[in-house]
């Protein structure tokens, strides 16, 4: 557990969008996918997952569709919409800018000032 990191506020939506962009997923699948793509470093609190999914669906960034899961159960699969894809691109770019800036700031040395 000490290996996992708490996710920063506001990044949950980005992670959901990212995982949905890799293929349609049901709710629990989103959870697993995030763990998987972050190498197990990021764990989502289950209590926050579905409100976030519904919020993104409400905003039209992901679309849910009912289908059957691996073992033939009715499940709702989420998929990125065009608006969602655009949002993902923007937020990813924003995140990268932030990381670059933070890295630059944190790696600053005395003589560079």
């Amino acid at each position: 557990m000490s290996e996992t990191a708490a996710i920063l506020p506001g990044t949950l939506d980005l992670l959901i969008l990212k995982s949905a962009s890799l293929g349609p997923l049901h709710g629990y699948g989103v959870l697993l996918r995030i763990e998987q793509i972050s190498g197990g470093a990021l764990q989502i609190e289950q209590g926050a997952l579905y409100p976030a999914l519904y919020r993104l669906e409400h905003q039209g960034l992901i679309a849910g569709e009912w289908g059957t899961s691996d073992n033939n159960r009715r499940a709702k699969f989420y998929q990125l919409t065009t608006a969602g894809r655009k949002r993902l691109r923007e937020q990813t770019a924003g995140w990268e800018r932030l990381v670059t800036a933070m890295t630059a700031a944190l790696s600053a040395r005395r003589e560079e000032v």
Partner: protein, 876 residues
């Protein structure tokens, strides 16, 4: 943004499915999680428990999801509405009073707004009505119209039209018809399409007398020709000549004047035939109304400048007729600006009254609602203390207020539809095809909705805010703020006083105008209307020549004299206070007319016996005789004002005067008392009478005074006219009062409106007073019980409970009466002799207000004095 709303609405639409899906999804999640945990080596039961725990409370979770999906707001609204419905069902009395007050207030406003909408806001029923402008005149000479039409560069088309009275032959005999003489381009410029047949065009209107065509209005087509689909091409006889019906105008089309609904349109070139003498080439006769359609991109200012440059040329070319000619543009619909001012002032006044009534309704409701929330402070305190947000409670109370407002608004709208329907179908009050058809449209609907909304906010916000600002601690401990409130003056007390003041003001205004109106009917107007029957007809409509016409008039008079019971009979061209008045400039013999302008005097052409039949008193000299004819010297009879102002002597018999500067001299042979001639509120004005034997006039009003009942005498008169000439259209046959309608119209309308609003105000005041009194009593039942238990007499109880309401009523009444007195001058300009300084009026107002107070406070007062001390003390 709209996408989110659509999503929310989709979810709302299939709400049950939505909830089921959410459940399914969460259940699946728990199962999958549990399976996952089993795979990591956990016992199945423990895994399921763990999975459920990780997700947390299912209901909280679902609520969060609903909020995410934007459903929360609607859920709360639904809760509030359900709660409102439940609470309102528990107090049907409150609901009834509230909805009734609002229905009256909003209904009154909707009716008034609907009239304003029709009269001032809505465009004419033509293509792009905003581009049509009336050329101020009100009248123009026809040659001037032609020049304007042909020389202007700013109008794409310019029409001329004129009101015309026509006689049409029907199977049941001749009937009068109202129509327009209109230039050929009329329909094309206005952009209207016929529903049957065709309209006439410019090429149909080129040569005088050569276009005997008629276009029917939709209403005339329906009522006179039973909607005959094959009407086009048929012939009707108008003024005894055949006219071909070309087509029918669409249902809502009435031309360009709001208050005049013609039956028929006839090409302008038929004017010489219709009216008997042509003024089509006459620059002296300013008879044509002119309107035009602006070219695209031209502003009214540019058009006015353009017309005025033409005016300069015209006044240069024809200085005698067109000196100082100037044109202006006005919005069409009310004869340019001629009627607009009056209509606007009247409607503004009425709208203000309606607004005041609505305000009274609001005050009523605010005080009722305040009383109610006061009663619910305990409930609200509980909800606050168990964690309800103040905003949430505020919203709930507002929902309640708005629900009531919407209910009241809906009821008011229904009421307004009913009233408007009644007004629209009422017969016109005067002898004129006027219609007050104000069908409510979308704008009216929106107005009613907005009025309800604003009303709901006005009467809902204050009590709701006060309710949530109470301290729950104190309220729950029982030391309510409300308990002591009857010692202080609360805002709702002032509301009540203001409302009573308003009610009293309206009641005063109503009584003043009713009293004024009854005065007006009784005041000497120079004629005695009772028992006087008239038959009005126009010899021109049946194409009588001068000699034939004069002979026919004498024959009709003789026939009337033969009738049983007739005590007086005569004829003239008109009667005082009718629409049709003629006036001319008059100079006394001494006045050469060079130094000063003459004075305008109204004149009538009267037969011998006219004055006696009218009941006008001759104060000096003699009446006309049949010997005052063309062979005898010209004579006239004048009224006292004429003698004083124009002839400069009260003893004017034998003096002489002339019409215009060049007219022949007429000798005064008699003087009559002054009367009212154009309106009841007018100042005394000069009037003279000419002998019909010396001045033939084709317009005829036959007078018959009979000792028989009016209706019976009228039937006799109708029979006589039918036997004399069955083809002559006779209009306005019956009591003379139907000719006088116009004179009494403003006073009648004002009185009717004031009475309606007075009644409304009374009803609102009664509910308002009742509400406050009942509330006061019910809050103090326990206290009254104590008082009675320690020996208070009924009158003492009454004084303590009702004393304050009495004070409020008294203050309100005084304020209202003062306002009534202050507004006397305004009223007096509409209603003849309206003054509140009349003991009758003051007494009536006082009695009414006392009655109102008594009616409203009776039940609560009964309840106060009949409080049973034992039961009331056990009550809590």
């Amino acid at each position: 943004m709209p996408a989110r709303l659509v999503n929310t609405l989709k979810a709302l639409w299939r709400r049950d499915d939505w909830e089921r899906d959410l459940d399914d999804e969460l259940r699946l999640h728990v199962e999958q999680r549990a399976e996952h945990l089993v795979r990591t080596g956990m016992a199945p039961q423990e895994a399921r428990r763990r999975a459920r725990l990780e997700l947390g409370s299912r209901e909280t979770y679902r609520e969060q999801c609903r909020r995410s999906a934007g459903l929360r707001w609607f859920d709360e609204l639904r809760q509030d509405l359900r709660y409102t419905l439940r609470t309102l069902r528990k107090s049907p009395g409150f609901l009834a009073v509230a909805v009734l007050s609002l229905a009256l207030g909003i209904g009154a406003n909707t009716v008034v707004f609907s009239i304003v909408n029709t009269m001032l806001l809505r465009g004419l029923p033509v293509r792009s009505p905003g581009r049509i402008f009336f050329v101020q005149g009100p009248g123009h000479s026809f040659p001037n119209y032609r020049d304007l039409r042909d020389r202007n560069t700013t109008f794409s088309g310019m029409i001329g039209y004129r009101v015309a009275q026509l006689g049409i032959e029907t199977r049941d005999g001749p009937r009068r018809l109202w129509g327009y003489l209109a230039t050929g381009n009329y329909f094309d410029v206005l952009g209207v399409q016929p529903v049957v047949g065709r309209f006439f065009h410019a090429e149909d209107d080129l040569k005088p007398g050569a276009s005997p065509y008629a276009v029917l209005s939709y209403a005339a087509w329906q009522s006179r020709f039973a909607g005959d689909a094959a009407i086009a091409g048929k012939t009707v006889r108008i003024n005894a000549l055949p006219y071909t019906i070309l087509g029918v105008a669409p249902a809502g089309f009435y031309g360009t004047e709001l208050v005049y609904w013609p039956d028929v349109w006839i090409p302008m070139m038929m004017q010489p035939i219709i009216e008997g003498r042509s003024w089509l080439d006459n620059r002296y006769t300013f008879n044509t109304w002119v309107a035009g359609r602006l070219r695209d991109g031209v502003t009214p200012q540019q058009a006015t400048a353009n017309l005025n440059s033409i005016a300069q040329t015209l006044s240069h070319d024809f200085p005698a007729e067109n000196a100082g000619l100037k044109f202006g543009l006005a919005r069409p619909g009310l004869v340019g600006d001629m009627l607009r001012g009056t209509v606007q002032a009247f409607l503004a006044g009425i709208m203000m009254l309606a607004g005041l009534v609505l305000l009274a309704a609001c005050a009523n409701l605010a005080s009722l609602l305040a009383a109610r929330t006061m009663d619910r402070h305990f409930e609200i305190a509980i909800r606050l203390s168990i964690g309800a947000g103040r905003g949430r409670i505020l919203r709930q109370l507002l929902t309640e207020a708005l629900s009531i407002a919407m209910l009241g608004g809906a009821a008011g709208l229904g009421l307004a539809y009913g009233v408007l329907n009644l007004i629209g179908h009422a017969p016109p009050p005067i002898d004129f095809p006027v219609r007050f058809d104000c069908p409510p449209d979308l704008r009216v609907l929106l107005f009613a909705f907005a009025a309800s909304l604003v009303t709901g906010l006005i009467f809902g916000v204050a009590p709701a805010r006060r309710a949530v600002s109470t301290d729950p601690n104190g309220a729950l401990r029982g030391s309510t703020a409300g308990r002591n409130s009857h010692r202080r003056w609360a805002p709702r007390d002032f509301l009540l006083a203001a409302q009573v003041a308003l009610c009293c003001f309206l009641v005063t205004a109503c009584f003043v105008s009713v009293r004024g109106l009854s005065h007006a009917f009784e005041t000497p107007v120079g004629l005695a209307a009772r028992g006087l029957n008239v038959a009005a007809f126009d010899m021109e409509l049946a194409h009588y020549s001068r000699e034939e016409g004069a002979r026919f008039q004498r024959r009709a008079l003789d026939a009337v004299w033969q009738l049983p019971g007739v005590t007086a009979a005569a004829y003239g061209n008109s009667v005082p206070l009718w629409v049709d008045q003629s006036r001319s400039e008059v100079f006394s013999e001494q006045d050469t007319g060079r130094r000063n302008r003459g004075m305008a005097a109204i004149h009538y052409d009267a037969s011998p016996g006219y004055l006696a039949a009218m009941g006008t008193r001759l104060v000096a000299g003699r009446d006309f005789t049949w010997h005052d004819d063309r062979k005898a010297p010209l004579v006239g009879i004048v009224n006292q004002t004429f003698a004083r102002v124009i002839l400069k002597t009260p003893d004017a018999v034998g003096r002489r005067y002339r019409i215009g500067t060049g007219g022949p001299l007429m000798e005064v042979i008699g003087i009559v008392e002054d009367g009212k001639y154009e309106s009841l509120t007018e100042m005394p004005r000069p009037v003279f009478f000419r002998s019909v034997a010396q001045n033939y006039n084709n317009t005829t009003v036959l007078l018959m005074r009979s000792s028989l009942p009016e209706a019976e005498a009228a039937a006799q008169l109708r029979k006589v006219m039918a036997t004399l000439d069955p083809r002559l259209p006779v209009y306005a046959l019956g009591s003379i009062n139907q000719l006088l309608g116009l004179a009494y119209f403003p006073a009648r309308t004002a009185t009717a409106a004031l009475t309606a609003f007075g009644l409304l105000a009374v009803m609102l005041a009664v509910t308002g007073i009742y509400g406050l009194a009942a509330y006061t009593v019910s809050r103090r039942v326990r206290e009254i019980g104590v008082r009675v238990a320690v020996g208070a007499q009924p009158w003492q109880v009454l004084r303590s409970v009702m004393g304050r309401i009495g004070t409020l009523l008294l203050v309100g009444c005084c304020a209202g009466l003062a306002m009534g007195l202050a507004s006397t001058r305004l009223l007096a300009s509409i209603v003849y002799q309206a003054t509140p300084r009349d003991p009758m009026v003051l007494g009536a107002v006082a009695a009414t207000m006392a009655l109102v107070a008594l009616a409203a406070a009776w039940v609560p007062a009964r309840r106060a004095v009949s409080v049973d001390p034992i039961r009331s003390l056990r009550h809590e």
